[in-house]
């Protein structure tokens, strides 16, 4: 009697306790609703770095452009170059650039920006330094500066007696002058890259290897916290020249969030947007929902998705092998199944939006497994194992790899798939697989709307081992591209003729497997608005830079 009552009582208590615990650990409500001035979203991969000497990828661009500034930048949501933290002038012969720092620009720790800081930043990124964890991958973009070759001796310590490139000087306080060896129509675009952001030398020297976690800049936001691989939080830098009253009080970026989870959080109102390109399964859900469809935007981008060949060794140092793979891969099938028709066929190295695109090249390698097999025979392929590496962070990449492996198997190639968790353009070489790969899935999004960014950066011998991941080399191609690169902007028609011809060579060479041109799409919450009236908040409309988060308002929702 007493005991059974006690039993019932204790069971009831257990039940209540269980309920209480469930309530306590239930999924918390959307953060967005509680703190309306937060821009919260995610990336499906890592933010790789905040150090300009290591920067290569589009994900890192997002926080970097909020934390830092460059000497020149793009007019918001356009591709027009305007002054950043400096005004500029160019000499008539295109060989001397003079940057005059604007008054009162300060780092977020109060240090004023000096000409010496600018010189330090530029020299540092062109050769890396003892503190950066690798050779500066974008250093070669500044190779045209006088003194680059002597300065960039490839070692960890600078050459004796040199403190920087001789072509980078400060003739007077607050003024930096850069001299080039040959004119470059796109030099200001290169100075607007994330690799050219201005850093505070005192902070860099102080933190050495850990600089990234303490990165300081002049931008409208500063780093509050970074749990690497998980989440980064930025808060307003109120002393910045770009600080805008009314900008979001926090930018919270989650890393490595799987697209389905990201969509769920977006639908719950937690995430402000879902950044693309959106994988097929997310796109399928959008197609099935009127609400999501109304929040969906897509835009063609100047980007390419391709397979690079490791051309430093057999078997892909042989053009017949490369052509065989090009004929064996059914690109239309990939466009249908992987991109759901959102992408267009890639016909050459340049996407159609870049001047220099060769309109006469329509479909250079249509799907033809029979021809592929005969080319394989011609090349003398003896069945050796071929390693195909790809970033395995999204199911789209995995599916692409599987489809291609099957198509290559069908023509008799022995292909092993190796997924890796690294992303960024030349991870094939960063990875443990250093050199031990034959085919690599890779992609490239324009840094600036100029053919040089594709043709030179991705396929010149100077970039071999960096952004030219497979070391494609063709002397005719190389000289055409270098010639075109050096022409001033007034000679654009000749430039375009040269680039178009170079494309023809690259296509004949089957330098890459040309898959498809990048598109981009995203979902944007209706409560995200542009700060300036009349401006259209359409992410990725800006062809060059990432969305400008400090120019967005978060409406109460």
């Amino acid at each position: 009697m007493a005991s059974s009552t006690w039993k019932r009582w204790s069971m009831a208590m257990a039940g209540v306790a269980a309920l209480a615990m469930t309530a306590a650990v239930s999924i918390p409500g959307p953060a967005g609703a509680a703190t309306p001035q937060v821009i919260h979203f995610s990336f499906s991969s890592n933010i790789e770095t905040l150090d300009p000497t290591e920067w290569t990828d589009t994900t890192s661009m997002t926080p970097m452009q909020e934390i830092y500034d460059t000497l020149v930048e793009y007019n918001p949501y356009s591709s027009k170059i305007v002054p950043g933290i400096a005004n500029y002038s160019v000499s008539k012969n295109g060989l001397t650039y003079t940057f005059t720092l604007k008054k009162g620009i300060k780092f977020s720790n109060g240090d004023p920006v000096t000409a010496q800081d600018v010189i330090y930043s530029i020299n540092r990124v062109t050769r890396g330094d003892a503190n950066s964890s690798g050779a500066a991958p974008y250093g070669f973009a500044y190779a045209d500066i006088v003194g680059y070759t002597q300065w960039n001796n490839g070692g960890k310590t600078p050459p004796a007696g040199m403190s920087g490139m001789s072509g980078v000087t400060s003739p007077s306080a607050g003024v930096v002058q850069i001299k080039l060896q040959t004119p470059e129509a796109f030099f200001l675009n290169v100075m607007a890259l994330m690799s050219a952001v201005i850093v505070d030398p005192a902070v860099v020297e102080k933190y050495g290897q850990n600089y990234q976690l303490h990165a300081i800049g002049t931008g409208p936001y500063k780093l509050k916290s970074w749990n690497q691989g998980h989440q980064m939080i930025l808060v307003p830098n109120t002393t910045s020249w770009r600080y805008r009253k009314g900008e979001a009080s926090q930018i919270v970026m989650d890393e490595n969030v799987n697209p389905d989870l990201a969509l769920l959080r977006y639908q719950q109102g937690d995430y402000a947007f879902l950044l693309g390109p959106l994988p097929s399964e997310v796109y399928a859900k959008i197609l099935g929902s009127a609400t999501l469809k109304s929040q969906y935007h897509d835009v063609t981008e100047n980007g390419i998705v391709y397979l690079a060949f490791n051309e430093t060794k057999a078997p892909f140092n042989n053009v017949y092998m490369r052509q065989a793979v090009n004929y064996a891969v059914n690109k239309q099938l990939l466009i249908k199944d992987i991109t759901n028709g959102r992408a267009a066929l890639m016909t050459q190295m340049l996407p159609p939006g870049i001047p220099g695109y060769n309109k006469s090249i329509k479909n250079p390698y249509p799907y033809n497994p029979t021809l592929a097999k005969s080319l394989l025979k011609k090349a003398g392929y003896k069945g050796q194992a071929i390693n195909f590496i790809y970033p395995s962070n999204t199911s789209d990449h995995i599916r692409t790899a599987e489809i291609i492996q099957n198509e290559l198997k069908a023509i008799g190639m022995n292909v092993n798939l190796q997924g890796t968790s690294q992303v960024g353009n030349y991870w094939p070489l960063e990875d443990n697989q250093k050199g031990n790969w034959n085919i690599a899935w890779t992609d490239w999004f324009q840094d600036y709307p100029d053919a040089q960014d594709f043709m030179y950066n991705l396929a010149s011998t100077d970039a071999c081992g960096a952004t030219n991941v497979g070391c494609y080399a063709n002397p005719q191609f190389q000289s055409l591209v270098k010639q075109a690169d050096a022409l001033p902007q007034s000679e654009n028609s000749q430039r375009n003729i040269d680039y178009a011809k170079a494309n023809e060579i690259a296509v004949k060479d089957a330098a890459w497997v040309f898959l498809y041109n990048e598109w981009n799409d995203d979902l944007v919450q209706p409560w995200m608005t542009p700060a300036a009236s009349g401006q259209n908040l359409m992410l990725y409309l800006h062809p060059v830079m990432q969305p400008e988060y400090n120019l967005m308002n978060v409406k109460a929702h």
Binding site: D260, E281, L287, D337, Q405
Partner: protein, 308 residues
């Protein structure tokens, strides 16, 4: 455990059934009367047959991404219920679900059986030696067994599998087999300890029969029963283990088809195309169910009083 010859008692009417059955025949009769056990056996036989004849029975290729295997927008197709053309629909890469299910049977059966075989060989030998020889050897072997038993098998398998650079299907079952013997070693040892005390074993030893022969001819046949049961259940769990590994993308390499891999790729489509995970899920469930029912049936047939 000893299996005495069963002599049925005389019936009240005086009409006695003179037929004396061997223990084996009795077990078979008991098994066949157990409907669930027979069902399990049938399932297992079907699976094994499918695994063997999959290439000739599959309506399409499980590896090919068919150009017409997706909708106009490149999304998976629903079931068409036409055997030769996407009977159960397609996955997001335009591959035929039915063919993938049939070919997936091969990997599940191969890994299931082979991993169990490896485990049996290692575990039974260790158990036999340990139980029969006794003494310090028994001690050492059993302490080793305890250590292996204490390790979380799943994590160990993941670890071992991750360090292999060019894995094959064989890698998967070798890894599972090599790490999973502790349980069967214990059981074998226990059975051996009892069998050792049997009268004819003792007399064989007295006569001077050598140990290996005793183990092989006298001990082993007597302990086979529980081992067979355990092995059958082990096959079921090894099938599940392989599916889990493939689901985590560290199972069988591409392009080999595996039910676990199908679930992995289909998972993100659960809202728009849930069948992509339903079909392989059913396949795994049926395979596991079949072996479990078979194992339980064998257990009941060989030792009917165990469950009471």
């Amino acid at each position: 455990m000893s299996l005495p010859v069963e002599v049925p008692p005389p019936t009240p009417s005086g009409f006695a059934d003179e037929k004396i059955r061997t223990p084996f025949q009795t077990a078979v009769r008991r098994f066949l009367h157990n409907k669930l056990a027979v069902f399990g056996l049938v399932l297992v036989i079907i699976m094994v047959v499918i695994a063997i004849i999959a290439p000739s029975v599959a309506p399409m290729s499980p590896y090919t991404s068919y150009p017409d295997g997706t909708t106009m927008q490149g999304l998976p197709l629903p079931p068409t219920w036409h055997w030769h053309h996407f009977f159960l629909g397609t996955d997001s890469s335009g591959r035929d679900e039915m063919s993938m299910l049939l070919f997936g049977t091969q990997v599940s059966m191969e890994v299931g059986f082979m991993a169990t075989a490896i485990t049996l060989v290692i575990g039974v030998i260790i158990g036999l030696i340990s139980g029969y020889v006794g003494g310090w050897l028994d001690n050492v072997l059993m302490r080793i067994t305890d250590v292996v038993l204490a390790f979380p098998l799943f994590l160990f398998v993941i670890l071992l599998r991750s360090v292999v650079s060019h894995p094959t299907v064989a890698t998967v079952y070798e890894v599972i087999g090599i790490l999973g013997w502790a349980g069967i070693a214990r059981i074998t040892r226990g059975q051996t300890l009892s069998a050792r005390k049997l009268e004819y074993v003792e007399s064989a030893r007295a006569v001077g029969v050598r140990t290996p022969k005793i183990l092989a001819k006298h001990i082993f046949p007597n302990i086979m029963g529980p081992i067979v049961v355990y092995a059958t259940l082990l096959i079921a769990s090894n099938i599940l283990l392989e599916s889990a590994l493939s689901f985590l993308s560290i199972g069988v390499p591409d392009p080999t088809v595996s039910w676990g891999k199908m679930i992995n790729l289909g998972l993100s489509w659960y809202q728009t195309d849930p069948l992509l995970i339903v079909w392989p899920g059913i396949a795994i469930a049926l395979a596991t169910l079949g072996f479990n029912l078979l194992g339980d049936g064998l257990s009941d047939a060989l030792n009917p009083r165990a469950g009471e």
